[in-house]
Amino acid sequence: MKSWEEIRQDFPILNVKINGKPLIYLDSAASSQKPVQVLQSYCGFCEQRYANVHRGIHTLGESATSDYEAARETVAKFVHAPTKDGLIFTRGTTESINLVARSYGHKFIKHGQAIVLTPMEHHANLIPWQLVAKAVGAELRFWPMQEDGTLDFEKGRKLLDNSVAMLCFTHISNVLGTVNPVREMIELAHQVGAKVLVDGAQAVPHMPVDLTELDADFYAFSGHKMLGPTGIGVLWGRPEVLNDMDPFLTGGEMIREVWLDHATWNEIPYKFEAGTPAIAEAVSMAAAARYLTEIGMERVHEHGRGLAKQAYARLSEIEDLTVYGPSEERGALATFNIEGIHPHDIAAILDGDGVAIRAGHHCAQPLMRWLGVAATARASFYIYNSESDIDVLVEAIRTTKKVLQHA
């Protein structure tokens, strides 16, 4: 079994010096770094097996096609998808959700129906639904939260009546770290006949996800947050539902027959993969899935949970510092503010010590308003982080306070 120290050595970027200091990368919730195994998969594929997919009758066309389809299978297995036919490669979570909003939402959500969201959604799982609601005349409802940033089940349950067409929510909040009870929520939604989309961008990288058990109708995630490349992500959709949907982008590969004035569509998943896909990216996203599987997602989960718990505790001890979200059972991150200091200044001064955190609204402006702040600072963790990173973080925050807090 690879030790955490050995795992760290797989990440070349950790050797980079920031302002003369070792890099402490605490921004994996925005995007993760990539191990050599993923980069080697990318280059190896391009150097030996590359061509366009699906139509090449030559050897490279066949090797590229079989690698691309094998990647689909690997990634489907990684999230225990009931079938790989429902696994569509997209650019990322954002495109995945937009696909559902357009191809399912515009077609099947009717005037007067409701779409239920939560106030902790990333903009990617909010704005597409605002536009669907506006276009079809549907209502947006928000499942209320409790003080600690978890969902209020009593109140939420009441929102779910027969007028609800769809429930869309994040598996793990990228700000609060809240882990939503996906299985229960899906069951409630299915009881009233609503379809469910889960934004898994922050979950798939950090915990075992079993789509067969969760029973979501749609599940979205990104490659770049799970050690994979940018430019690739996934929408998994229930095949029966995907079959009924209209295409999203149109062009090559998603067609069956084309005449000058009309066309017919290919079967799923190809119907939703118009044009040349992100071939090398899919192949190395699968390499990232294999890398994580080798470590073991249970172990990855344990590690992230441990760091998050410790960070929550250590940061909470600092005077004038508020940590947001639930104290127990949280995603691998800690979001906070320091009285009287703008988060941008925290991030900038921490950077002087080599510590990379994120500051801003984290693409969750409505949640910032709910928290009553303009912005927050967030430290997020992954497999290449260790407890000693939290030591450096805490020390650097103390320096920041000394420099910036008014006397």
Binding site: H342, A348, I349, G360, H361, A407
Partner: protein, 141 residues
């Protein structure tokens, strides 16, 4: 400590010049940077062409607050033409990362590092673009 957080900058941050309301102001203009949550209001008192007095209120990061403080010091007592020249100079300075030839920027020089930090440029610029808006509103009245 990152270079940007120089002594001069921190001095303006901790002891902002001309911070507060301005009784008898000719006009006040709010500038906001929704991505950061910075909100700065400039309060201005003109007499004809001359900016007799200027103060600021609001919240923001150290960069936007220090930049606001410096702005008030520099522009206090200047004519509209001079102010417009300073706005242009500031823009060039932020873009190039150094003072335009032959110009002494005073404390503003402490912001030179911003040119390398695209994400923070808007913080430094906020009071200056608010000033530009203020001038055009004042001239429009």
């Amino acid at each position: 400590m990152p270079e940007l957080y120089s002594e001069i900058l921190l001095d303006h941050y901790h002891l902002p010049r001309n911070k507060g309301e301005l009784p008898g102001e000719t006009l006040s203009v709010e500038g906001a940077n929704p991505l950061c949550g910075d909100e700065i209001t400039l309060h201005l008192k003109f007499e004809g062409d001359v900016l007799l007095n200027v103060t600021f209120t609001g919240k923001g990061c150290a960069i936007s607050l220090a930049s606001s403080s410096m702005l008030t010091e520099i522009l206090m007592g200047k004519t509209i033409t001079e102010i417009q020249e300073w706005i242009e100079r500031f823009k060039e300075f932020i873009r190039e990362g150094k003072a335009p030839d032959g110009v002494d920027l005073g404390d503003l020089a402490a912001l030179a590092g911003i040119a390398k930090l695209p994400v923070r440029v808007k913080c430094a610029t906020l009071p200056w673009s608010t000033m530009k808006e203020a001038i055009s509103r004042y001239k429009g009245t």
